[in-house]
């Protein structure tokens, strides 16, 4: 039958690509919400082979609430109330970013194939490729966009990628909800703090363009 977890991974790749070429902040925030929900669903569907247990499902709901609703909600609010000009303003253009995305996926397939992980199933390999691509694309967004808020989005995307790598490699973490909850809490607070700083940057500079901040240098 249809391989649902593979489709999920394809959806993540899709969201990564679309975010690299997206020129609207709102679209970017919506993409992040979508990606957050799909990423949260991945461990649930990978574990279905061993049967879904109640804890896992509850944690899935929590993840969706945080990554799919709360964090994008904060970003949405920031874009809606703070940012006047909603164009993304790339340092590296959209086409070059897309091209970077293509190079990234070639790289991640190369890496995954050369790890020679015999214990990995096909879908785990695809998971690893997706994870590395997502992480790399997050870094690209982080470096190639000028607005402070897009940098936060890049950070989130990178975090999603690392979370997926954790899902592929470190299965033990997913059984320790205390630890995972703490990581999630950190992420939420990080976005909150960044949101507050973005807000203040906007008040002080009348823009969220990081190029305006060049006072401190040697």
């Amino acid at each position: 039958m249809i391989h649902i977890s593979n489709i999920l991974l394809a959806l993540i790749l899709l969201s990564v690509l679309l975010s690299l070429r997206s020129n609207r902040l709102m679209a970017l925030v919506k993409l992040m919400a979508f990606q957050g929900i799909v990423v949260s669903a991945v461990p649930l569907l990978l574990e279905t082979a061993h049967g879904v247990n109640f804890n896992l499902f509850m944690f899935f709901l929590l993840l969706v609430a945080v990554k799919g609703v709360l964090i994008p909600g904060l970003m949405y609010r920031a874009v809606k109330w703070v940012v006047v000009d909603r164009e993304v303003e790339p340092i590296i253009g959209y086409h070059a970013s897309l091209f970077a995305g293509l190079i990234l996926i070639v790289f991640s397939v190369y890496v995954t194939n050369h790890l020679q992980l015999a214990m990995f199933s096909e879908s785990h390999k695809l998971l690893l490729v997706t994870a590395i691509t997502t992480m790399g694309a997050g870094l690209v967004l982080l470096m190639a966009r000028r607005k402070a808020i897009t940098q936060v989005i890049g950070y989130l995307m990178m975090e999603n990628g690392i979370y997926l790598i954790g899902t592929a490699l470190a299965k033990q973490v997913h059984t320790q909800y205390v630890v995972e909850f703490a990581v999630l809490l950190d992420l939420t607070v990080a976005v909150l703090v960044m949101g507050i700083v973005v807000n203040d940057i906007n008040h002080t500079f009348d823009d969220v363009d990081t190029a305006l901040m060049g006072q401190l240098k040697d």
Binding site: M158, E159, V179, F205
Partner: protein
């Protein structure tokens, strides 16, 4: 109770957000005292050696915790008087963040679970961010943004490193709890390739936080823009916490028989940091930035010392203690200078000896200490590191090491002399110096001096226990 050491400051800090300023200051002091007494109890194992699923008291952790607690005691004292002189609209937030920051750092010191350690390090970033942008000036916003973003991204890479280390265990089908204490037991069976990859990512991640070049770019900005008590805490306590994360992984590598690899990585990063700070310190115009670059240099020294091992590891641990004491003292003095002159520019801070004699004394003494002059501890620690390197036959590394030390000394002394001894040229005294603000830096300096003359046995033993796992000895 090991958990008390971080839960007390966190609870107190959360409460202070909603309390009036005056009460907040007293709670800050009370927390500092309570924290140091809990630390003392843990230090002397009054509660017995304790280990839970996520936390344990290790010698290196206790060392970092003790330094932090001691510093916090005096820095909080200073903060109370400092705050009384500067008008700060958001003081409850500042006080609360100080305590939350202390809680997060204490959590780093006692964390044993790999991911818990990561969570705590990330928490230190988040709780200290409000400390930096409390003034809300353009510069402090920029510094905060750089700090939060660069450190968060760096630490995210450390999480990747943690996953790699966990995978190196799952790959060979070992299932032990993912804490450093359990992993150290099975270290030799772990997959070396993944372990190495994990170590590199962790050094990059926590190294960002520790201020190792080339990931140090946030550090001078954050240290110079934060209010001085916060800078002192960042430099004296936070950098040690980040170092602790690297050190724990280095121990794991050593137990896995990959010590040579991780040592080389540490030495490379350490020397790079020293060279970079040597270059940037030469033409500084801002004395707080100068101190910040000196912190990068000293973190580099510690990394090199740990990497060389043997007696140099002992030197590195001593260096960590003395650097924390002296550098915090310097930052507190810098706070006094800033209050007195109202500027951070070296060129405009002249004739300190006549205007602010006590501050000039503490600043000069601190400067002598940080440059490694004999009466202070940094002389001994640097000497031990050089000795260890020569014994280990690392001549190239040690030549770069000594060269950087000379360059930094030459660059920084020019600036410090200018500030202290130049003529007084129509500079006004904004706020006169007061004993209650000059006392804490003096006490910190005296502590450093005292530790040179007499190193307590328990401290000596703790250092010895901390470095024995990486083959460090006191006898050379």
């Amino acid at each position: 109770m090991l958990q008390l050491v971080f839960s007390v400051p966190i609870i107190a800090g959360s409460a202070v957000f909603f309390l009036p300023v005056k009460l907040g200051r007293s709670i800050l002091m009370a927390t500092a005292f309570l924290h140091s007494s809990i630390t003392a109890l843990e230090w002397f194992h009054v509660t017995g050696p304790l280990q839970t699923k996520y936390f344990s008291n290790t010698p290196e952790g206790m060392l970092v915790l003790a330094i932090m607690s001691f510093l916090f005691l005096f820095i909080s004292l200073y903060t109370v008087f400092y705050m009384a002189e500067v008008e700060m609209s958001k003081e409850p937030i500042f006080n609360a963040s100080m305590m939350l920051f202390l809680g997060a750092m204490s959590m780093v010191a006692v964390a044993d679970h790999i991911i818990m350690l990561w969570v705590a390090v990330e928490a230190t970033t988040l709780t200290s961010a409000p400390l930096i942008f409390v003034h809300r000036s353009k510069e402090s916003l920029e510094a905060t943004w750089k700090y939060v973003l660069i450190c968060s991204v760096g630490i995210a890479l450390a999480l990747l490193g943690c996953f790699f280390i966990i995978f190196s265990m799952e790959m060979v089908n070992i299932h032990v709890p993912i804490s450093f204490s359990s992993l150290n037991v099975v270290a030799t069976q772990l997959n070396p390739v993944w372990l190495k990859a994990g170590f590199v990512f962790i050094v990059i991640g926590y190294g960002t936080k520790m201020g190792l070049a080339p990931m140090h770019t946030w550090l001078p900005d954050a240290h110079s823009e934060a209010p001085s008590p916060a800078s002192a805490l960042l430099s004296g306590a936070l950098l040690n916490c980040a170092f602790l994360g690297v050190y724990r992984c280095h121990q794991l590598m050593f137990n896995a028989g990959l010590g040579a690899y991780s040592s080389n990585v540490l030495i490379a990063f350490g020397l790079t940091s020293m060279l970079v700070s040597a270059v940037f310190i030469l033409n500084q115009t801002d004395y707080k930035r100068m101190l910040a670059y000196s912190s990068i240099e000293n973190m580099g020294i510690i990394a090199v010392g740990i990497g060389i091992g043997g007696i140099a590891a002992f030197g590195a641990m001593l260096h960590m203690i003395h650097h924390s004491l002296v550098k915090s003292s310097l930052f507190l003095s810098a706070g006094n200078i800033l209050l007195g002159y109202g500027t951070k520019s070296i060129a405009k801070t002249r004739g300190m000896l006549k205007l602010f004699p006590r501050t000039a004394l503490t600043f000069f003494a601190g400067f002598a200490g940080i440059s490694g002059f004999p009466p202070f501890g940094l002389f001994i620690s640097e000497f031990l590191i050089i000795l260890g390197a020569i014994k280990a036959g690392r001549y190239v590394a040690i030549s770069i090491f000594i060269l950087s030390l000379i360059l930094i000394f030459a660059g920084a002394s020019r600036l410090a002399m200018q500030m202290i001894f130049s003529d007084r040229e129509n500079v006004e005294q904004l706020i006169p110096e007061r004993w209650k603000r000059t006392l804490p830096p003096i006490v910190l300096l005296l502590t450093s001096l005292a530790l040179v003359i007499w190193l307590p046995d328990s401290l000596y033993l703790t250092i010895q226990n901390a470095i024995s796992s990486i083959g460090g000895t006191v006898n050379g």
